[in-house]
Structure formats: C-alpha cells, structure tokens
C-alpha cells in the first residue's frame, strides 16, 4: 500500500504517495522530476545517483524513499545558489572535471560531503572520499585537482 512521503528536496517541501518498495532515486526522478540525479547501475557501485540526506551522502538507488520521510535531500540541482554556481561546480567546469557529465552529479555530491566534513583534505583524502564514484572519461586527475581548488577557494571565503 502506498504511503504518504513528505520531505524536502533542494529546499522545497514535497510530498507524494509512495509504494514502500520504491527507491529514493526513482521517486526523485519519476515523481519529482529531479532528473539531474542519474542511475548508472542500481547497485550502489557507480555513485551516479548520490544525494545528500540530511547532509550525508547516500546512493539513492539503494535507499528506500520512505526512509527519507521528514529529511532534507540535496541533489546536484540544489548545489547552485540562484545564478551562482557552487565553487565545486565552477572548479569542475574550469578544470576539465566534466566530460560526458553522467558521473558529475554524484561526483559533485560526494565532493560536497567530503568538504563539509574536511575543509582541507589531502590529495589522498580526496581520492578516498571520491572512491565510491566511477568516472570513465577523465582519469580522475582533473576531478581531484578541481576539488583541491574548490576547497582552497571555500576556505578563503570563510
């Protein structure tokens, strides 16, 4: 039996009647039209579906939608403030961290979660922090450099 799900997605309170078996990813994409979050494997292996649930990164393909009741979800579409890109988005864009773009939403979410808990991560910490996100295009090096750059910029701004 579907149950009422109420939650906040990228700052907006939303609700839907949701079958208990449905994943957060499916509800975000199909019910709420938040297609910025991608499905790459439905297996928690590729990280393309990563979102923040109350600030913590989860693979939304393997997270039941009803588990998110009352929580605040941040997707890639909620990173930019108004017309201003998040420093991570800008650094990815300017540093060659984006090629096909399919891993980018999950990669940005993982990076945002990493910088929230460690504003000054070592290269090794960045590489570990992003190890749950597969990218087949870039070889990761430009992504790691972009996170370093964004971290420095964010530290300077605070």
């Amino acid at each position: 039996m579907p149950e009422l799900l109420q939650l906040t997605v990228d700052g907006l309170p939303l609700s839907a009647m949701v079958d208990p078996g449905r994943t957060l990813l499916r509800v975000l994409r199909d019910d709420f039209g938040r297609t910025g979050t991608k499905e790459g494997c439905d297996d928690s292996e590729c990280g393309a579906c990563m979102v923040l649930v109350d600030g913590l990164p989860v693979n939304s393909c393997s997270y039941l939608a009803l588990q998110a009741a009352g929580r605040a979800i941040t997707t890639v579409e909620g990173l930019a403030r108004d017309e201003t890109l998040h420093p991570l988005q800008r650094a990815f864009l300017e540093g060659g961290g984006i090629q096909c773009g399919f891993c980018t939403p999950g990669m940005l979410i993982s990076a945002a979660a990493l910088l929230a808990r460690d504003p000054d991560p070592s290269e090794e910490a960045i590489r570990d922090g992003l190890a749950g996100n597969l990218c087949r295009c870039t070889g990761y090096q430009p992504i790691v450099q972009a996170v370093q750059r964004a971290a420095a910029e964010m530290r300077a701004a605070t």
Binding site: T35, C46, V76, C100, F102, L108, G132, C137, G139, Y140
Partner: protein
C-alpha cells in the same frame, strides 16, 4: 536543432545547442565546454531523462543462453496481461538479414529460429509501467533446444567444429571477404618474404599472447525512446553514431531515412560501446505498434550482456627474427579475433590488428594474418581503439623479450627499430616526422626523472601507433543578425569535448571568440552527415568541415566589408570581432554591423564538406582481405612509460606513475586533449589488471555487474604526466592535427606488463593481468597463455604446483 526544435523536449532544460563556448585552445584561458554548465548543474538531460505524455516502457526478452534453437515462441498469453501494449518478435518486423556493418549480413533484428549469444533479443514488450513490461517478458512462452556453445576460437577453426552460422555460405558479404565455416573474415598484411628472412635471422623468438574480452562500460547505460508522428519517427538515442542508427533503422524497418530523425540530447559516454546500431529499430517498431512513445533503458546487467560491443578476445602468435645488434629483420604472426556471434565490424578490425602487430617499426619482411572467428560469445566490435590495446600489449612485450635476448635495454631496442621520418611502413607507406622516436625519448626521460625506484618497483615502456580516420563529414556556419555565430554540425559529442571545441576553429578563421559561437549538433534532421563519435574522427573530419565553412563566411564578410570600407579585399583582415584595413586601425567595421547589413540581402551562411584526405601511397598487392586499412592515414605515434610496484606474494600490481607522450600532429585544444590522455590511461590501466569478462562453460558471462567487473576508482588511479609532441601531418586534420581520443588507451597495458616482467622476472601472457595471474606466473611460471578462459583465481593445477593444497 534550433529551427527544427519545436518537438524538442529539452527546451525547458538546457538544450545542448544554446550554450556558448568560452576560452582558447592553447590553454592560455580556461576552456569552458559549452555543455559544461548544464552538466554541472544537473540540467543536462540525457536520453533516459526525457519524458513524454503517455510514455510507455519497453523491456527486452534476452535469450539467457549462448546457443539454442527456439522450438516454441508464443507471446499470446503475455499479450493479455494488464498494461501490455505490444509484444514483438521477428514475425512482426520485415524478415530480412542485415549486418550492423555490411561486412557479413549475418543477423536479424530479433532472433529467428536460433539464438547465438546470451544477450540476443528474442522479443520486446511495451507496457504502461516498467513493472508490467517485466511481468509480460516473464510470461512470454519460449522453449529452447540447447546447442553446444562454441567458445574457443581455435576449436572453432577445426573442421569438425559445429558452426555458429550453418547457412553462412548463403549470406551476402563484402566482396573482399570470403566468409565460410566459422570464419567471418581474413585479412593479411604482407611485405617481402618473412619466412626466408626468419630463416636467416641470428635470433628468432616465438611467443603466444592471449587477451580476454573486456567492456567499454560507459556510466550511462543504453537508452532509446521512439515517438511517432504520422509516418515519421523521432528516435532519442544514447548513440555515438546517429546517422548509422538512422540508416540501419531505415534498413531493418524498411522506412526511408528522411522519415527518421535521430536525436541525442546529451550522451553519457560511449568508448565505442554506443557505436553501431543497437536498439533503435526494436524501440521504433514497438512505439509504432503501441501507438505511443516508448522508452527503453537497459539495466547495468543488460548493459553488460546485450549491447554487442566488447573488446576482442584475441590469441596472438608472434615470431620475430632479429640480427645480433637487435635490428628487426622479419615478423610472422597469426591473430585470432573472437568476433562473437555476429561479425559486426570485426573483419576490418582484424586488418587493423594486423597493422598494429606490425607497429611503427622498420621491419623489412612482414607476414601477418588476422582471422575473425565466430563463437557463441558476445559480439565484439569497435571499443575505443579496437584491437589496439591487446595487439600492442602482445607485441610490445615481445619486443622486450627480444631486447633481453640480444642484451639491449628496452628503450635502446626501440630506438634502433622505430620508424623515422621517411621510413617505410608495413605496406611501404612513407612515415612523416620523428614522432615515434620523440615520444619514446620524452616518455623514457620523464619517467627516469621521477626519482629512484623503490623496492619491488620497475619501469616499463611501450610504443605504438594508431590511425586517423578520414571520412565524409559536413557542417554549416552562419552569422546571426547581431553578429553572433552558429555552427550546425552532424558531429556527435560523446563527452570528449571534440564538438565543444569546434568553435575554437571557427573563431580563429573569423577573428571572433569561441564564446561568440553556439553549436547545434547531434540531430540527423538538422546537421549534415557525419560518421559519429568513432575512430577519433570528429576533429579530424568535422573540424575540417567547420574550417571550410568558416573560410567561406570569411570571404562573404570580407566582400561586404570591402564595399563598406571602400577597400580591396586583399587589404582586409578579420580581428577582434571586426573587419578592418590592415595597418589602418581606424578603418574598420564590426562583424555585428556587417551581419546586420547581410540580413537585408545575401546572408552570411556557408557549408563545409571537403573531400577527406586520401590514405598515404602504399603497396598492398600481397595482402588479402583489403578493407581500407592497408595503410594508416596520418598516424598518431605514442609511448607510455610507467612506474609500477608489484607484490610477488599477492600478485597485486600498483601503477604509481604514467608518462603518456603522444605526437598528435598539432594540439588544437590543450585542455581537451589532456583530458583524453588522462582518461584513456586510467581506462587502459583497468584493462591491464582488472577488467576481463569471465565466461562460464555454458557461454554466459559470470561477472556481468559492477560488483564483479571492477573499474579503477579515484583511489586506484596514479599520477599521470601528459606530454605532447607536435609533428603536423601534411594530409591531416585542421592545422596538421591527428586523432587524439583513442591513442591513449593503446600502450599503457603493454608498459605495465613490461614493468611486471622487470620486477618479477616472469612474463604474464594473459590479459587482464589480474593478481591471481601475476601470482601464478611468479609462483609456478605459468604465463597464462594456455589457460582456458575460466577463472579469476588460481586453478587446482596452479595451486598444486605451488605446493598449496585446497581443502
């Protein structure tokens, strides 16, 4: 896409054609790809993100067995299930045989009578929900009589072997091929008399190398949505080759091409896995039958087994003779390529494999044979630099073995044998430039400068070449009334940025900035023909088309300016957004003003589609199975040098540093080209030590998920130093450029293999070089080349040989 944009569902997102490009090609300003902001913000819509009123959901019934006769196929009961709109089998589409390339016309859209690999499409369902579609697939009544799966390429060549295609003698095929038995095609590269030269050589080394199949694994799985309007269908597809998808859909459904529009909104990577014709025909037929738009999205498991595009499993026998000073005298080789159940483009890739086994080396006498062999495995095809990494991995290890035999350092051995400017290739094409030598020297110098080696570490190098692919390609360039520019192209952006960089080329011709141009692309109704994002050809071919169109617009602008400025065209230049008289800074008029004038008369509008460069002169008279790669056009030369750590106790190989040196002719977009190098190297490292498909004895894939088939992660990837060498090609792409996208994946595994041998003193002759295989080679001396395609993991025999009992 703008003019024909009325049906485009991506309008309220961020259409790929509306973002201006910025930056410069030389890296002096950040190059910001035009589609980057949409991708960074989640606005970019990929095929599976598109939705339509009344959208129905497709699901495929896949064979699930490698080789079987269909004794009963009855969808009657499934058709009565709730929500089912259509179920199609081969009985419901034109019953014709086609080839996904036209080398051998060996397949049908749906299986007819026999299934020949695990992922073969037997039927397709459209239903109101994905769950209803899955239920209907499960309810289709199908019975099989299993046939023995043919899984071994050498066994398949024996006269007594069962046939994958018993009717092959009746199949239409390319006139240069003679398919028969389990052989789809055979090509040779022959020069001189290799047998005689080998007989006279001081040292002859014979070896066998065996490579497993691997997958392209784009992070976006295949997706196709078809939407009919009257007798016209729009197909949104995650394809790298929209025009091929359109042409084959037209062929199999017998519809004229002009009634089919293929649109790619954004493509989530391809690596060759989305080349070729896949599911557009099935989904278009389903949508027509369901009378609604229908969307297919493959699961990751289906992505592994169904899109018949994997790298070739290969068996490479090599025999090379050298003089005492290490000069290569002759090479003989036989390459068996496992083309899987259908030929696809494997025959031509066999010819390419033969050229790769020859390599950019001076070899006076060459006799190389490539045989494409049918099996009941997943059909292989043009995955990024098809056959290149496996061939290079084999032959570059072979070169290190030869170097050791004659007592030479591997770098010195290559230095003595690589081609220089003016040397002749395996079919006597004349090489241009010293790119092969320069990249070797650069890579070797840089890796040695990386500091002393630690315990368990060694350096490995590998050199190679890869062709550029001349082909037809078209583009339009126009200037809008406000002076902004637009490129309309048939080219396809797969993520590399090749299409995104086209404005750099137009801007240079027109004295404008890249960000002054918008790009309309990947829509077959709008752009002129292009071969798609395959063969590293986008910049090479479409770049030339854009330059040609921009030059015509330049002529138009200068003519207009000559009237307005009362000056001769010969005295005018385009700079900083203006047309002006050379040497008279005050006498100039803006391109915006000229464009405004043009919109009262003859428009600023041009097309580009020049003849592609011809292949270099060569002599292929001794070669058979000639399919167009008897010579390599404007080859890219490269050398990768790696620093690798091997733990002999576990067989775990860690690559700590890679130097990738490449002669790309001319760097047109440094950030874009660098991104191809770093990405290619990491994909290659996965292929080197981790990525290989395991088949069971039943012919089914045993690791068809990302849980079992692992890619390198951020934590695994090494530091990569990218070096570009520039020897512009006289008959190349724009400004002498050569192909960039495929070369970086070719030599890395070979360099790693050579480093492994340096550390351990033992060769691993089986790809991928998994920890188990490395461990086994170190422990037992078994190089893996005779190993059956069974396990990731030590065999009982290997364990016994190592004195380890298995409880």
């Amino acid at each position: 896409m703008t003019e024909g944009n009325a049906q485009h569902p991506d309008r309220d997102g961020s259409p790929p054609d509306q973002e201006p490009a910025t930056g410069s090609g030389d890296g002096s300003r950040p190059w910001i790809r035009a589609d980057g902001q949409a991708k960074a913000t989640g606005q970019a819509r990929y095929t599976a993100d598109l939705t339509f009123p009344g959208l129905a959901h497709a699901r495929l019934l896949l064979a699930g067995r490698a080789h079987a006769r269909i004794t009963r196929l009855d969808p009657t009961r499934a058709r009565t299930l709730p929500g089912v709109l259509a179920i199609l089998t081969q009985a419901d589409v034109p019953d014709l045989r086609y080839g996904s390339f036209d080398y051998v016309l060996d397949r049908t859209l749906f299986a007819r009578d026999v299934v020949r690999f695990e992922g073969e499409v037997v039927a397709a369902v459209a239903a109101l929900t994905p769950e209803q579609a899955a239920a209907a697939v499960a309810a289709i009544e199908v019975e099989y009589e299993d046939l023995p799966p043919i899984l071994d390429v050498e066994g398949a060549l024996r006269p007594e072997s069962p046939l994958v295609h018993p009717d092959i003698d009746g199949y239409a095929h390319d006139p240069n091929l003679d398919p028969s038995g389990n052989v789809a095609g055979r090509s040779t590269i022959v020069k001189g008399d290799a047998a005689a030269a080998l007989a006279g050589a001081a040292v002859v080394v014979r070896e066998r190398y065996v490579a497993d199949m691997a997958h392209p694994v784009p992070i976006e799985p295949h997706s196709v949505t078809a939407d009919w309007s009257g007798d016209r269908v729009t197909i949104y597809s995650s394809t790298q080759v929209p025009f091929t998808a359109r042409g084959k859909t037209a062929e199999v459904l017998q519809i004229p091409e002009h009634r089919i529009r293929v649109v790619v909104t954004h493509l989530g990577g391809g690596f060759g896995g989305k080349c070729d014709f896949h599911f557009e025909g099935h989904v278009a037929a389903l949508a027509r039958a369901a009378r609604r738009p229908v969307r297919l999205v493959l699961s990751r498991h289906e992505e592994f087994i169904a899109p018949d595009k994997v790298t070739h499993a290969m068996v490479v026998d090599l025999e090379t003779g050298v003089a005492e000073d290490g000069t290569i005298l002759a090479r003989r080789s036989r390459i068996l390529l496992d083309c899987g159940a259908y030929a696809s483009d494997t025959p031509v890739l066999g010819q390419i494999a033969a050229m790769m086994i020859a390599g950019p080396y001076r070899i006076p006498d060459v006799d190389i044979e490539a045989i494409s062999v049918y099996t009941n495995r997943t059909p292989a095809g043009s995955v990024r630099a098809p056959t290149g990494p496996q061939a290079c991995w084999a032959v570059e290890q072979h070169h290190d073995v030869l170097a050791t035999r004659v007592g030479l350092d591997p770098v010195e051995f290559r230095r003595r044998n690589l081609v220089h400017d003016g040397d002749e290739g395996p079919t006597r094409q004349r090489h241009e430039g010293d790119g092969a030598i320069d990249t070797l020297n650069a890579a070797a110098d840089r890796i040695r400068a990386d500091g002393p080696l630690g315990p368990g570490e060694a350096i490995g190098v590998a050199s190679g070449w890869w062709f550029s692919a001349p082909g037809a390609s078209g583009a339009f360039v126009r200037i809008e009334s406000d002076g902004s520019g637009r490129i309309v192209t048939g080219a396809q952006e797969n993520g590399t940025g090749a299409v995104m960089a086209l404005p750099i080329l137009a801007a240079e011709e027109l004295g404008m900035r890249p960000e002054d141009f918008a790009i309309t692309y990947q829509d077959t109704d709008t752009g002129p023909y292009d071969g798609g994002s395959s063969g590293s050809q986008t910049t090479f071919n479409n770049g030339r088309a854009v330059v040609e169109a921009a030059r015509e617009v330049r002529r138009q602008l200068l003519e207009l300016a000559s009237v307005q400025l009362e000056a001769s065209v010969a005295d005018l230049e385009l700079r900083d957004g203006h047309a002006g008289v050379v040497g008279s800074p005050d006498r100039r008029v803006s391109i915006a003003d000229l464009a405004s004038t043009a919109h009262d008369g003859a428009l600023l509008l041009a097309r580009g589609s020049g003849l592609p460069p011809e292949n270099p002169e060569h002599d292929a008279s001794a070669c058979v199975g000639r399919l167009g790669f008897e010579s390599f056009a404007s080859p890219t030369f490269f050398c990768h040098a790696v620093r690798v750590h091997v733990d002999p106790a576990t067989g775990i190989v860690r690559t700590r540093k890679v130097v990738a040196a490449t002669d790309v002719g001319r760097v047109l977009n440094a950030p874009g080209a660098t991104g191809q190098m770093t990405g290619g190297v990491v994909m290659a490292l996965g292929n080197a030590t981790m990525e290989g498909t395991v088949f069971g004895a039943d012919g089914r894939q045993r690791n068809a998920s990302l849980l079992d088939y692992k890619l390198l992660t951020t934590a695994d990837a090494p530091e990569i130093e990218v070096v570009f060498v520039e020897h512009p090609a006289s008959n190349g792409g724009p400004r002498g450029s050569k192909g960039v996208g495929e070369p970086p994946i070719v030599p890395t595994a070979a360099a790693v293999a050579n480093a492994i041998a340096s550390v351990t003193g033992t060769r691993v002759r089986r790809l991928p070089m998994t920890p188990e295989r490395v461990w086994r080679a170190v422990t037992t001396g078994d190089d893996g080349a005779t190993e059956a395609n069974a396990p990731f993991g030590p065999s009982e025999a290997a364990l016994a040989a190592a004195g380890i009992g298995r409880r």
